[in-house]
Symmetry: C2
Subunit: 456 residues, 2 copies
């Protein structure tokens, strides 16, 4: 039996594979919101059952948060681990969805069929590309291609609080020759890619408290400090006029791009105006003098992801609120130290809060950036396998997002991570109307079959 048989089996099984994915997408496994705890548990159960149907010895493993799913199969050949996450982002603003985010369907669009649901692209659809490739392999060959470990997390969208302890406690079980991760994208929706450079992330929530209760601004306005005034002054000063982040020491450990990579990136022909034009913008907002790809792949950033305080309903209310809060995240590169930046940020904020106001902080994840070794010949083998499946040859690229687990594999387990994904720029992950192209799903499954064939 050959790779072609596996690919044919994948093609024939696509409708059933799609139905299985839709089934998983119906489970609202939003990890950040405690209201969905039992749904996260249900998604883990679903995966355990599905892996067992492939002959994988899978089980749900408890953590202080949502459970992990770990499964093992095979006993010969290289030991490959595959990582994905079954949890999804919250869905608000719900009113901007065209349909129930957890009532998935295949929709016909001008650019082909898409699977529409929260989690379709991030990460359930991507995760299932690998599982379905294994299913087809098993159906054709009667066994899986090599020794395989499946490792699914349920807290990726909420800072992965249980991940590092779990990996440390189960290091021997999770060590492998290569950690395959499917949570990244194609380059510009068309070029298959292995992502070798990822930004890290630091999440911080700040709450400023002024008066002990909400006040009427007529009576107290002018004499009582308004926490929104304090908060906006802090946040409004996080970038200087040239777009640089002002947190002291923030750029410590930020490397300049090596010339070789700079040339390779320039050859990709990235057009910032077109990239921004797709979302109604035109002017790159990053540091002056940096290229578009540097801004999204190799330069660190600071974003305010949310802010709230005072009266935010319809109409007007002249309240002077007691509290205001914001969620701020930093994307990190090179050797930036997340914990040092957290301390520096908090110190800077504290210095800007008046003596009679209070500020509290809540950390939401702190992971360093990753830049991964591609000297293992498996990388060139995988790149060639991807090039066989897609019209364009595969590229090594950077990624603006943070996938801390990749760094954990390298640092905690000594396992090289290999990031291959099939997401497209317009998948609207983390946004309303998230989707995953049927092409991504179908060619993604075929890609993994080719990669497994090449690596085993």
């Amino acid at each position: 039996m050959s790779l072609d048989d596996v690919l044919a089996r994948i093609d024939a099984d696509l409708p059933a594979a799609t139905d299985r994915l839709l089934d998983l997408l119906r489970i609202p496994s939003i990890s950040t919101d405690p209201a969905f705890k039992s749904d996260c548990d249900r998604a883990a159960d679903w995966l355990v059952a599905d892996l067992r149907s492939l002959g994988v010895a899978a089980e749900k493993r408890a953590t202080p948060g949502h459970p992990m799913v770990v499964g093992h199969a095979g006993d010969s050949g290289p030991h490959l681990l595959f990582y994905g996450h079954y949890d999804v982002q919250p869905v608000d603003p719900l009113e901007l969805w065209d349909r129930d985010p957890f009532d998935p369907e295949v929709q016909q669009t001008a650019s082909g069929p898409v699977i529409r649901a929260r989690g379709a692209g991030d990460d359930k659809g991507q995760m299932m590309t690998f599982v379905e490739a294994c299913r087809a392999w098993q159906a054709v060959h009667g066994k899986l291609p090599c020794r395989l470990t499946f490792f699914f997390e349920g807290e990726e969208e909420s800072g992965s609080p249980s991940l590092v302890p779990f990996m440390q406690e189960n290091a021997d079980e999770l060590k492998s020759d290569l950690a395959l991760i499917c949570d990244t994208g194609l380059f510009e929706s068309r070029v298959p890619a292995i992502t070798t450079m990822l930004r890290g992330m630091l999440g911080e929530e700040i709450t400023v408290t002024g008066p002990s209760k909400d006040l009427h601004s007529g009576m107290y306005g002018g004499i009582a400090m308004n926490p929104i005034r304090v908060l906006t002054r802090i946040l409004g000063g996080l970038h200087d006029e040239s777009g640089r982040v002002t947190v002291p020491g923030f750029y410590d450990g930020v490397p300049e791009l090596p010339d070789a990579l700079r040339s390779q990136w320039e050859a990709l022909g990235f057009d910032p105006a077109a990239f921004l034009g797709d979302v109604g913008l035109a002017v790159p907002a990053g540091e002056a003098g940096r290229s578009g790809l540097e801004m999204i792949w190799s330069r660190p950033t600071c974003e305010i992801n949310g802010i709230i305080g005072g009266y935010t309903g319809a109409g007007f209310k002249t309240v002077l609120p007691s509290q205001a809060s914001a969620k701020v995240s930093f994307r990190l590169v090179g050797d930036q130290d997340p914990l040092a930046i957290r301390e520096s940020f908090r110190e800077m904020v504290r210095a800007m809060v008046p003596a009679d106001c209070k500020v509290t902080f809540q950390g939401h994840g702190a992971g360093p950036a990753g830049s991964f070794d591609i000297s293992d010949p498996a990388f060139e083998a995988a790149r060639n396998a991807l090039s066989d499946e897609w019209p364009d040859a595969a590229a090594y690229i950077g990624c603006g997002g943070s996938i801390p687990v990749a760094g954990h594999f390298a640092r905690l387990l000594g396992t090289t991570p290999m990031l291959i994904g099939f997401g497209k720029d317009d998948d609207q992950i983390h946004s309303p109307n998230e989707k995953y192209d049927m092409e991504s799903f179908h060619k993604g499954i075929r890609s993994w079959a080719r990669v497994l064939d090449a690596l085993t």
Copy 2:
């Protein structure tokens, strides 16, 4: 029959008067939220019926927004108009209320009985002090004390959009010798007061739009402009280091306090530390070098009353949002021109918005400050009448809040407004658990009986 008979009647009727007020407080007449439109209408109907029970020819008068209630009675003596408003503030954050805001009750507290409900203090309780004084007068004398016009508005808490057109269209009907307004407070909860200086108000809502949809900050962070960054930079720069407002031309028309008034205010013994200490603060937040009473009565201010953007739920979401918005209000004094400040503010904001982002504005009221003539001997007569009712002698004071209708009476109708109210500093108007002291209600009714007796 004497004033004493009226006062005795007020004392005897207090339980019934309280029941009537509770009845009115049960109607959730939140004017700023369209969901409560029919409730506003219901409150107007309630007032029409109540005034008619006093023999007042009252009717509900349509406007493009919520209706006015206008009633006339009597045909001899001076023509006094009484103004109040039947609409109330929104109730959020609802979770901070100890009970349903529209299920009023009389509660015993350490400082005496209070009427607890949204609108108890602002303005239904205050408004009914005058109506109940009239009811007692009518019961004792068989008629009202003079020619009276009742004028109740239902849009005071939402910028009074219909007020000026209505006053202009019905100028002849509403012109009177004196416009009595009950929407202010005692001085420091103890000294009866006639308010002669009111700050004006300008309300502005700003919405900044960056990308055309919410984005994932991993993919777009660093290159796409974040509207919260734009908004916080604007708002964070509205005050300089000395606490002055930075809108160009903002201080045009702001007068220095006359020496006579400065001495009188100094004699009031206002203690900013104690005033702020009541709400958990300590440091006056206004312009450097200004006294506490100047900050709340005679200096202009800028407050951010609300801000929202991005993900504000539990946990963390690395979204780069499409929009962020804020509600900003300015308290105005002297001859500051609200419309000129609105234009200057909008121009300043527009200049700070990047070329590929958009900003929109929504105005929420624009009323100049008022400083009212007290040369009419009615003022000294009313002040003496108030002094008779309360332990301390009555004072002429300023007020940090804005009561635009007072200025409209003076400017549009040539009628001198006289602001007498019985609110206390801890009434929590515009906040959760609003209340009105039974002492305010009872002595307020008695105060109006004395004032009516003195003026007629």
